[in-house]
């Protein structure tokens, strides 16, 4: 708790005709000993040395900077004590408008603006007063990376982690290392100039791994479970010689893929006729010199199979009408009876379009090359999906006698006795034709192992599997475009084809990226700080177990599965898994969870610092806006800076995530006399933008409970609204706010006002 706060007003950057000296005097009066230093400085950026001196001379343990937004110049104000900002410029002066929309006097602040500024300053002081420097949650970490999967990606990850100075435990399911890459002696290019087939030298990678002192390899081994937290996980590995347990700091998941089952391509002859194979099988045959066919169709268009599967599904659905609908999927977080859902589907075929387009070109070229161009290879495609630099490879591969390519809709593949017939329509050759071939090669669907099996076996309360797999059709992927290594299981980073179908060069790169994140996570745990997005945050949730009623809401709602529990249901926190979003304390009805620098009392106290006038009619309503600091708050900040304004009756409090909003804050606001509460957060749903994955969605769910509570108290539940706002909706958000204020105004005062 800060007990000696220096308050600094940035005269240059406040403006609006505010009586800054008056604001300072108010602080001295009201907070007295808590704020031994209260200064109005001509320019904050010019007062950095002065502030540093005050910190030492006065023994300050916190500084409150009142002026421009914390989003500007934050890097200038790094002091060895807690720093808080009061955004008097963007969120107060610039966002201010008169309730009747009359012009604002820029030289003499209107009374409402002065009230707003005073509220924000007092809220800032109390925020800092209720904030403490967290104790360190640093742990002694194990500098060892677990790599699950010994294929191309896993081998690369193991070598890269070792090259960075970390020990590695590599777990491979089969008897040998190498995985699918073992069947590809010559692969697509791995480096510039990106033109030709390239020897993959898998055996070289295997040898390097085997010879490396830092790497321990377990073959014929699978993960049994992973328990603990980043920096100090315990991995139990089932090996031929029994279970091995090993301490690891973090993990890279590189379990790769399995080929899509033949049944999905049965309509195109796969599994029905031995002359029809999929590309990965063909690659193996080619490597073993088993291909005798001399006219081969490489068919990339699989519309036929997709149609057949779709139709079969429709028929099945029709047959099932009248039967009981399937039981709904278990709610997230429930562990009672975990059943692995098989997420394999024909979708995986198209998702593998790049790997197959590149692969078919390579295979067609190779088979022609091997037979001195005595083979005719026909590549039939809808779209050659060879994006980017691999266009060069595309050109080189088709430039071979024997390789013939055309766009074609393949409408039938049939047995004609001595040969097969591939029916081609809408080709670029100006006609439809039947192609007679000895063999048909179909694409391989890369089905991520995570779609079929539990790969890591998390010994977590929320279950052994990754939580979002269905959303990504079974891939262990991130939902974020900017942050491909984001994971809901902190410390475990997927790479390679288990994350998305990738060519071999991209798998190598992905392995490096995942290794960096893994070792970064180990180091973060060693320093007791959070990883992305609140990188470096020292705080973590602290539980007052005396009052815990074992309701399990926190353990169920944590988006990152950071909380385990004991038999009774008492939460067991794992700080190194925690991402500091505060969803746990948002969930807690008993308010037993807090962060040293972010807690229920702190925000509640800020709410109580707002001076709510008794007379709604003459002095207007008061509206509390709890805004997500990642997107909604910057949107408001930019709105102000862009000259947009909104009702002066609002007070904005940034929150770490809407998931951290506790219902008590709404009650606090209502009993204080606020007339409405607006919850401003990110979009949710499948394309969620919440940086903590579920925060805004969870908040919306909780809102129903809040509504019930309000109803019981005789307060209209419409007084609390949640709205989704994206960070770039700065020009729309003022209207959202004003619309809400208008609805509240029409509703009249909160019945609790003045009580």
């Amino acid at each position: 708790m800060a007990g000696k706060i220096g308050v600094y007003f940035d005269l240059e950057n406040i403006g609006g005709g505010l009586d800054v000296e008056g604001l300072a005097a108010q602080v001295r009066d009201k907070w007295a000993d808590l704020t031994p230093v209260v200064k109005v400085v001509p320019l904050l950026a010019g007062a950095i040395a002065e502030i540093s001196e005050d910190i030492t001379a006065q023994g300050l343990d916190g500084v409150l900077l009142c002026g421009a937004s914390p989003r500007v110049d934050g890097e200038l104000y790094r002091f060895p004590v807690q720093v808080e900002y009061v955004n008097l410029r963007e969120l107060c002066v610039q966002a201010y408008k008169n309730p009747d929309n009359s012009p604002v006097d820029k030289n003499n602040a209107p009374a409402l603006l002065s009230l707003m500024a005073r509220d924000y300053v007092n809220m800032g002081v109390v925020k800092l007063q209720k904030s403490a420097v967290p104790d360190s949650a640093a742990i002694t970490t194990v500098p060892r990376v677990l790599v699950i999967g010994g294929g191309w990606t896993g081998l690369t990850a193991a070598l890269e982690a070792a090259a960075t100075g970390y020990e590695v435990v590599l777990v491979e399911k089969s008897a040998q290392l190498g995985g699918a890459a073992s069947n590809i002696p010559m692969g697509s290019p791995l480096k510039s100039p990106w033109t030709d087939k390239e020897a993959t030298c898998v055996s070289g990678k295997i040898a390097a791994v085997t010879e490396n002192d830092k790497i321990t390899v377990y073959c014929n081994a699978v993960m049994q479970k992973l328990e603990g937290q980043p920096g100090e996980f315990t991995a139990s590995i089932a090996t031929e010689k029994g279970t091995v347990t090993v301490q690891v700091g973090a993990a890279v998941l590189a379990t790769g893929w399995k080929p899509l089952e033949d049944k999905y391509l049965a309509s195109m002859g796969l599994g029905e006729d031995p002359r029809v194979v999929h590309a990965a099988e063909f690659g193996k045959m080619l490597a073993a010199d088993q291909v005798t066919a001399r006219r081969i169709a490489f068919v990339l268009d699989t519309t036929m199979a997709e149609e057949a599967v779709r139709k079969a599904a429709e028929d099945a659905a029709e047959a099932a009408t009248g039967e009981e609908a399937a039981a709904p999927a278990a709610e997230e977080g429930e562990t009672k009876s975990f059943v692995k859902e098989d997420l394999e589907s024909i979708k995986h075929l198209r998702y593998s379009n790049v790997v197959n387009s590149v692969g078919m070109l390579r295979l067609a070229n190779t088979v022609c090359e091997k037979t001195d161009d005595a083979t005719q290879a026909f590549i039939l495609y809808k779209d050659m999906t060879v994006p980017g630099i691999l266009e060069r490879f595309y050109k080189q591969m088709q430039d071979r006698l024997g390789v013939m390519m055309t766009k074609a809709d393949v409408t039938d593949i049939r047995d004609a006795g001595s040969h097969m017939v591939v029916e081609c329509k809408n080709t670029l050759l100006g006609m439809d034709f039947d192609l007679d071939v000895d063999m048909v090669v179909l694409p391989t669907g890369l089905v991520p192992t995570t779609a079929k099996e539990v790969t890591v076996g998390f010994d977590y309360r929320q279950g052994p599997d990754f939580p979002d797999l269905a959303l990504f059709d079974g891939f262990a992927d991130s939902n974020y475009i900017c942050f491909p290594y984001e994971t809901r299981r902190t410390g475990v980073y997927a790479a390679g084809c288990v994350r998305q179908p990738l060519t071999m060069d991209a798998c190598e790169e992905d392995a490096r990226g995942a290794v960096l994140k893994a070792i970064q996570c180990i180091e973060a745990a060693g320093h007791g700080v959070a990883v992305h997005p609140r990188s470096g945050d020292l705080s973590y949730p602290v539980f007052n177990f005396v009052r815990c009623t074992q309701c399990k809401r926190c353990t169920e709602e944590c988006p990152f599965g950071a909380l385990d529990d004991d038999e009774k249901g008492t939460p067991k926190p794992n700080p190194a898994r925690c991402r500091r979003c505060g969803t746990c304390f948002g969930a807690c009805p008993e308010r037993v969870i807090s962060f040293a620098n972010y807690n229920i009392d702190q925000i509640g106290s800020m709410i109580r610092e707002v001076q709510v006038p008794k007379d709604f009619k003459s002095e207007g309503p008061r509206i509390l806006i709890l805004a997500c600091e990642n997107d909604a708050y910057p949107a408001l900040d930019m709105a102000g800076a862009r000259g947009k304004s909104w009702s002066p009756y609002c007070r904005v409090i940034p929150v770490r995530c809407l998931g951290s909003v506790n219902a008590i804050w709404v009650s606090d606001a209502m009993s204080k006399g606020f007339d409405g509460v607006m919850l401003l957060g990110c979009k949710y749903g499948d394309d969620y933008q919440c940086h903590f994955v579920k925060g805004s969605e969870i908040c919306n769910r909780r809102k129903e409970n809040i509504a019930e509570t309000l109803n019981r108290l005789g307060v209209q539940p419409e007084r609390v609204e949640q709205m989704e706002v994206a960070i770039d909706e700065y020009d729309k958000v003022p209207d959202l706010i004003d619309g809400f204020v208008a609805r509240i105004t029409a509703m009249g005062p909160n019945p609790f006002k003045g009580m």
């Binding site: 100075g165 779209d383 060879v386 980017g388 790169e509 990226g513 994140k517 800076a641 960070i727």
Partner: protein
């Protein structure tokens, strides 16, 4: 010997590499040529496939930078010299004058009072900018730039005497000691003036895909309304010309990776703003890599979007400032001549280093992509290495950070 890392380029690849390395405990310098970080991504309206705003991810990256004292950002900066060797480089960096104070000042009123205007690089010529400017609301660093060369006489009088502006700041050079270098110099849109058959940039209402991003952006020249630049009218029919420069030996001898997805995304923008407007995409191959096929399916389901396999042979001006396209429909074998209100050229990405040279021992291929350098402790990331989308760029930046960390570790 130094365990610091230099990152050349502050676009998404460079930002990622810098932040990831710094969060692993390394000192990092970002040297960015333009006045702000964010690169090409900052110009985009939305990302595919989620149609989420890029400033959302940038906000997080900038927060990470603000909190991390290990990261030093040098903007309006260019590497001018390098000496030493892997693990022990001395880099010379030239800093151009910014003309504004080293802290945030709200110059919005002063800036809007200025008269002089020059075409905005950031808005790709679709609008002008003042001599005192900040191109984006989320700019990092959050500081204006004063460009004395575009000040009119009366403007000069307006800015004179402002204590936070300087008209005579000089460029300066500094030296940095680093052990490894990540080169993330990114890409530039292919120069449309070279596409003579497509009007060479002189046909009205024939814009590039990056210009369309600016037209759709809430802080762009039209506040996000997609209109014809000539008369600001809503278009009733729009065509996209894929591979405008890409996959063409005379221009870019590769596929630019993102243009198919960009056009699909942009057709979603148009469908959202004008559900009645007809959109046609002319393509050679529609490349929707991996799970992006779901975006392709979403676009295919739109009632007013047509996808036509065919190469656009040329674009000329037609009456009413419309654009006349000659198209060869590859499947039907027909030659079509059609007029559109608005035509979008899906121009490709050219590496920024094409036709340029960094003073680094870095081999480039004939197109300007980086083709080596690892043995010297110099690692390419993002689109300086190959054309990539944002996710792959972030992957690439993270991977390059690891290689740089390995190079300096334990030194």
């Amino acid at each position: 010997m130094s365990n610091a890392i230099l990152v050349v380029g502050g676009g998404f690849a460079g930002l990622t590499a810098a932040i990831e390395a710094a969060e692993l405990g390394h000192d990092v310098y970002i040297v960015e040529k333009t006045p702000w970080l964010g690169g090409r991504v900052a110009q985009l309206n939305k990302y595919f496939p989620k149609l989420c705003p890029p400033s959302c991810g940038l906000e997080i990256q900038f927060q990470r930078i603000r909190k991390n004292p290990r990261i030093k950002c040098l903007t309006m900066a260019e590497v001018t010299g390098l000496s030493g060797s892997k693990g022990d480089y001395t880099v010379t960096v030239r800093l151009a004058p910014r003309g504004t104070a080293a802290h945030n000042v709200d110059f919005s009123l002063l800036a809007s009072s200025l008269e002089g205007e020059t075409p905005s690089e950031f808005e790709l010529g679709l609008s002008g900018r003042k001599a005192l400017y900040k191109s984006m609301p989320f700019a990092y660093p959050a500081r204006y730039v004063l460009d004395p060369s575009t000040l009119s006489k009366s403007d000069a009088a307006r800015v004179a005497g402002n204590k936070f502006l300087s008209l005579d700041e000089k460029e300066r050079e500094i030296e940095l000691k680093v052990g490894a270098i990540v080169v993330a110099t990114g890409w530039k849109p292919y120069d449309v003036t070279r596409l003579e058959n497509l009007g060479a940039g002189s046909v009205k209402n024939c814009v590039s895909n990056m210009q369309l991003e600016r037209l759709a952006s809430p802080f762009g020249p039209t506040g996000g309304r997609i209109v014809r630049p000539s008369d600001r009218r809503a278009p009733t029919n729009v065509a996209f010309v894929q591979c405008a420069g890409s996959r063409d030996q005379n221009h870019l001898n590769y596929c630019s990776y993102i243009c198919c997805m960009a056009s699909l995304k942009q057709s979603l923008y148009i469908a959202e703003q004008y559900p009645e407007t007809h959109v046609t995409i002319y393509y050679i191959d529609l490349r929707a890599p991996g799970r992006y096929v779901n975006v392709l399916d979403k676009v295919k389901a739109l009632p007013n979007v047509s996808l036509v396999k065919g190469k656009v042979a040329n674009a000329v001006q037609a009456e009413g400032d419309r654009v006349r396209l000659t198209v060869e429909d590859a499947v039907r074998g027909e030659k079509l001549t059609l007029d559109y209100d608005l035509v979008v050229l899906a121009t490709g990405m050219q590496p920024s280093l094409a036709g340029d040279k960094l003073p680094l021992p870095l081999p480039l291929d004939e197109e300007g992509f980086i083709a080596g350098g690892e043995e010297a402790g110099i690692f390419a990331a993002g689109c300086a290495y190959m054309p990539l989308d944002v996710t792959r760029t972030a992957q690439s930046g993270t991977a390059a950070a690891l290689k740089a960390v390995q190079t300096v570790k334990g030194r």
